[in-house]
Symmetry: C2
Subunit: 420 residues, 2 copies
């Protein structure tokens, strides 16, 4: 087995954490912003220093490639994103880019033989924090291969018109034009030229830390559904309307949230997650009984059968009266579990076992670019331990040792794919 | 007994409903707006037509006075407000003004003898919908007589700076200047010149309708308190963070709202009302577990002892952990029950009994100008039946018959006060 360099990885983490440094431990690095361009320039400088060839496609994805011994072999790509959420951490996304760089640097430094060209790649606008939606550019690039219900959200023309969350005059298309990173469409990742994709990412949860493992080998991105609850009551005056005649939509929503927890927990699936993260209350005035409240529930599990059981509970709420209010339940979206390529998953497990690092198999609860790429070419992911499970916030942290272990496992898995 | 005119009252209702007509049954008539000025001009025109003298004080309150037989006697005033909430109804406030006009018109028409001058009055900006707070101008006029905790919210200088909810450049002070209704401070209602105040208002609740009564004689404005609950959890990713480790502030708030209903209802007070009308959730994103939620509770009852029992339940929530979240409970404000003048209350009951109309004694759950006036001079109120208990909305409705009955009771009660 080959090992990546802790020293070099630590240097990359320190360097990239400066691009968008928000002054209190984390970063704000919106896609194609000056800060993101600093990170892209650093990527290019370091990759050119080891002799990699740089390409940029028409949606600003960057590819740095070390040629292999077989001039006809397809590329093996390692990729993640360089953008962050507002006041995000120093690891989400960029760790996958730094890990890909580290693999190429190790290959170059140790003159490791490989047949296939090896590519380190930056995906543009994964977070979608400034120009929604999330995973915008992997959606554009993988468009032709995505399921119909998903692809309709990623039409190129629509994405170019995506309006900035900060400046209503600005769009993603405009940002692309002025960035200087609008390259050639012919460089887009595609199955003709690419054999496999690997992505390292932080776990964004506490499972690895709680188990004492540094790396997770990811078998799938969990299926999920999102439904919205609507409660219809009647606004009346807080001081004048007797309790028994009220139709209080916020009380109805509160009862329903408690009911959902009670009934879903009874199912007893420890790896099921569900979240009621957003609520809207009307008129939301302290002296008025609310007449309309709605909230959404996000439910995720690998097993479609488990999701169906939860969905039955969700739908059953619509048949009941809650605090005198009518309840409607509407589907917002859902997605099936995306299983990563079995061969690549196998290489990752073998590589992890050979290193002697502490590792385990994990599902991904979050969406990632690799999940869209997996529709186009065989893909897989590795997770690195996240301290306290925090992410999308400044305390997000992974140790340099764990980050280097993740890169080492990817390096050895890539070399197995290279030989296959 | 004397009777008011159903025909004249119906005409007033039809006429005043045009000033601010929102096109679907209700009105939007912000204080000192062009629509409010139309209503004020109509008031002046009709009052001058019966020989009343018009005065306007420095905060745009309008007074129309019919002299009495004793030139040294203090005035008896009947008052309410002409402004509405956005998309409000045709009765809240203006019914009290129309009833006062109707009493004066009846006195003039039937040449009813009276010793004291009788005044119909418009209070400015009771709703506070454009320039908060509610009851702004009765707060200014009654300032010197209010309890310290209340008066500090109604400082004249602060009120003049109250910023429009619609136009950040505009203030109440500016609206007053440009309205042409900034009169003379010497005309303000005060105990030197006024003997008693009566206010007719719609009930804004369903109690009279349910009991089959047309008019309520109001003995008090219920005491109340408003407390705010804060829940502190931790934002984590909806897809990656296991359920048992979560600190979900929205689940915590939902559990608490259910707990409050359960515990407060156990007290068994049928005339107690409490409302959780406003909730704020952070970050309020469907893929994030909420880390901070707060909501407020508004509790009203005549009996201080009952309020104390509810307050003990509210405060007890702070000592508990809810869904892994810390809970804080903070007092926003409270007010003691305001009892109206016993003599005036007695005249209203006698007058109601003499008419043969269906009536009952009621508490007021809402705040009214008469509640502040009661600190300055003896005051009392009469409520008119509200269809379905609706108010602050366009379906707000009271029949012309009930409205006229309310005015008739006020007329006869005023004449009793005149003789006392």
């Amino acid at each position: 087995m080959y090992e990546c360099s802790l020293e070099r990885m630590t240097d990359k983490i320190t360097t990239f954490s400066k691009f968008g440094d928000a002054g209190h431990g984390g970063i704000t690095r919106y896609t194609l912003s000056p800060e993101d361009i600093e990170a892209r320039q650093e990527f290019q400088k370091r990759m050119e220093a080891i002799g990699a060839i740089i390409e940029v496609d028409d949606v600003a994805n960057m590819y740095a490639t070390l040629p292999g011994s077989d001039p006809n072999a397809k590329r093996i790509v390692m990729a993640s994103h360089s953008d962050s959420v507002m006041n995000g951490g120093n690891y989400d996304g960029i760790l996958g880019v730094m890990s890909a760089m580290e693999v190429l640097e190790t290959v170059a430094d140790q003159k490791i033989e490989h047949k296939h060209p090896l590519t380190a790649m930056i995906w543009t606008n994964e977070e979608g924090s400034l120009y929604p939606p999330a995973m915008m550019v992997s959606g554009i690039v993988c468009y032709d291969y995505l399921p119909d219900a998903i692809k309709e959200k990623f039409k190129y023309e629509d994405m170019m018109k995506s309006v900035s969350m900060v400046d209503g005059e600005d769009t993603f298309g405009a940002a692309l034009e002025r960035s200087g990173y609008k390259g050639d469409k012919k460089y887009r990742l595609c199955p003709d030229n690419y054999k496999a994709m690997f992505e390292v990412h932080i776990e964004q949860g506490p499972i690895l830390e709680d188990a004492g493992n540094s790396v997770g080998v990811v078998d799938c991105v969990k299926g999920m559904f999102n439904y919205r609850f609507h409660f219809y009551g009647q606004t009346v005056h807080a001081g004048t309307f007797p309790m028994p005649k009220r139709q209080d939509a916020l009380f109805a929503a509160s009862q329903t949230i408690c009911y959902l927890h009670e009934e879903i927990d009874k199912l007893g699936y420890s790896d099921l997650v569900y979240t009621t993260g957003e609520i809207v209350c009307h008129p939301n005035i302290h002296t008025c009984v609310p007449d309309h409240v709605d909230f959404c529930i996000d439910v995720r599990h690998e097993d479609h059968g488990v999701l169906d059981q939860v969905l039955a509970i969700v739908k059953s709420c619509a048949g009941k009266e809650w605090a005198g209010c009518r309840c409607e339940v509407k589907k917002m979206w859902n997605r099936d579990t995306v299983y990563f390529d079995e061969e690549l998953f196998g290489y990752c497990k073998e590589a992890a076992a050979e290193t002697g690092y502490k590792w385990q198999v994990l599902h991904s609860g979050a969406g990632h670019d690799a999940q869209f790429a997996n529709y186009v070419l065989p893909s897989t992911m590795l997770f690195v331990q996240s301290k306290d499970g925090f992410s999308h916030c400044e305390p997000e942290y992974s140790t340099p040792e764990h980050c280097t272990e993740g890169a080492t496992i990817m390096l050895n898995a890539v070399l197995k794919a290279d030989k296959a």
